[in-house]
Amino acid sequence: MKNYLIKKGAVLLCSLFLIATATFFLMHAIPGDPFIQDKAIPEEILSSLRRHYGLDQPLHIQYLKYLKGALCGDLGPSFKYEGRTVSGIISDGFPVSLALGLEALFLSVTAGITLGAAAAVYRSRWQDGAAMLLAVLWISVPSFVLATFLQYLFAMKLDLLPLARWGTFSHTLLPALSLAALPTAVIARMTRANMVEVLGQDFILTARAKGLSLFSVIFRHALKNSLLPVLTYLGPLTATILTGSFAVEKIFGIPGLGQWFVTGIMNRDYTVIMGVTLFYSALLTFWVFIIDLVYPLVDPRICHAKQP
């Protein structure tokens, strides 16, 4: 087991290294730099700024310097936000996105599985149709449209929930709902698709014939076997949701991490781009790793650890 973990750790470091390299050179390949602005600034001043931040050095030197710093945990200062470090930005924004993301995940997993299971059990009846219609609707509406609509309905017209910003539990509800809609729908459809297959199988018929209740059959037998694709979907979904959503955060004025993925690029804030990308990919690799570990629990036919 220890060897397995060490191997996985090495793979993680290797992937992070590749991502850092690719992102670094991608970043410098596009036009624009952190300092040009819509103003008349003398060229000498721009060069002195670039010199101060080490941007005048050859690319590979900048790259190696960055890597050295990153390995020691120093992700560098932000070029645009003077006085803030990238680690500071991440540690300020991540807990907020994390809280929101966990709430959205919880909602989508519970609601999605319940909806999907109900649709599968009552297949071809009105419950199935209604559930799947709802799911299709949520898939075909982007999160920011839903967010705007929910905000208008619940916060403006009905005045039940806060309109924007962050602070109490009720501030988290509307954004979490907006974020959870798409995953709920996808999970519901996946669960239904798989459960329908599973429910048609012989061992279910046997269980029912033996006298097991519907509830027990679903939860103890059918569900486990249907969850594999849901789990696969959950891995990257978790990493994405936990690092925040740019659109939803903007609409609700939430100080999370999601906006930095876009703002960093828009500002050509190189260290921020590198920092959040590495953070996201570390999170993603971690979650995919966890999901891979969980696969055999759900489907004992899959065996990993025994491989050479």
Binding site: V11, C14, S15, L18, I19, A22, T23, L26, M27, A29, I30, P31, V121, Y122, R125, M132, L133, V136, I139, S140, V141, P142, F144, V145, T148, Y152, V186, R189, A193, N194, E197, L199, G200, Q201, L205, R208, L214, V217, L228, P229, L231, T232, Y233, P236, F261, I265, I273, T277, Y280, S281, L284, T285, V288, Y295, D299, R301, I302, C303, Q307, P308
Partner: protein, 306 residues
Amino acid sequence: MQNSHDPLYEPLSTPLLETDGETLLASISYWKDGVRRLKANPLAICALCILALLVLMALIGPSLTPYSYYETHLSLKNRPPSSAFWFGTDELGRDLFTRIWWGARISLFVGIAASFIDLVIGVLYGSLAGLLKGRSEEAMMRLADILSSLPYLLAVILLMVVIGPGLASIILALTLTGWIPMARIVRGQILSLREQDFVKAAAALGAGRFRLLFHHLIPNCMGSILVTLTLTIPSAIFAEAFLSFLGLGVQAPIASWGTMANDGLSAMRYYPWRLFLPAGFISLTMLSFNLLGDALRDAFDPKLRS
């Protein structure tokens, strides 16, 4: 004592076997059988009709009105649907009926083309990864993870600068990482399928990798593949809207449904038709694709055939 209201099962209405000594079921190929089952499904026919109608309107819709999609009538802006403008006008006074059907061309084409490419790449990549064992599978999946962690926006801006806007560049941008979720799902399914007896039996009978894949494994993943596909299409449509917003993709005044929905968002409270018309058509298209996808799965998934 279980009664007959078990939601999982229905009592037989007809005897299972009717025999007069003749052969009961003629031998029929997998694909022919699937198509036959598809044709018998009323919802599938309905979905196909809706899609056909949408495609038809995309082709002839703009010629049904005297307006073009780019003519502005600034003083007639933001009008609700009327006899002069069947779908109303947008913020520059352009006829929305014409623009919706022009947008249909872009959204349907880009959505379907990109999703199809994602499907092919994703299924091939994922099944290969699922079939191979050990290091190669690891490497393939890690490569996919790395690709999906790269800042997408950077790659898109680079594409825009290097290739310039247009349909080709937007489809390229969409398919750069769009295949990864499909690949992951397929790989996961194959991981669980490959240990099953029927696969081992087929392998023992001498089936090569190719035949194993296409004849046995992939058809059994059909359910998940189709569900993921019906997710890929709307995400392609919205990603296209996002990319057009950034300057990649079709340039104004041509607009896709996604772009129109984006523009109509700020008008939701005041001129709701500008949002609900394009968004509604996207939903309708998605609904049809989903119904079709479900029907396809019901028809072709070996596990569902009684």
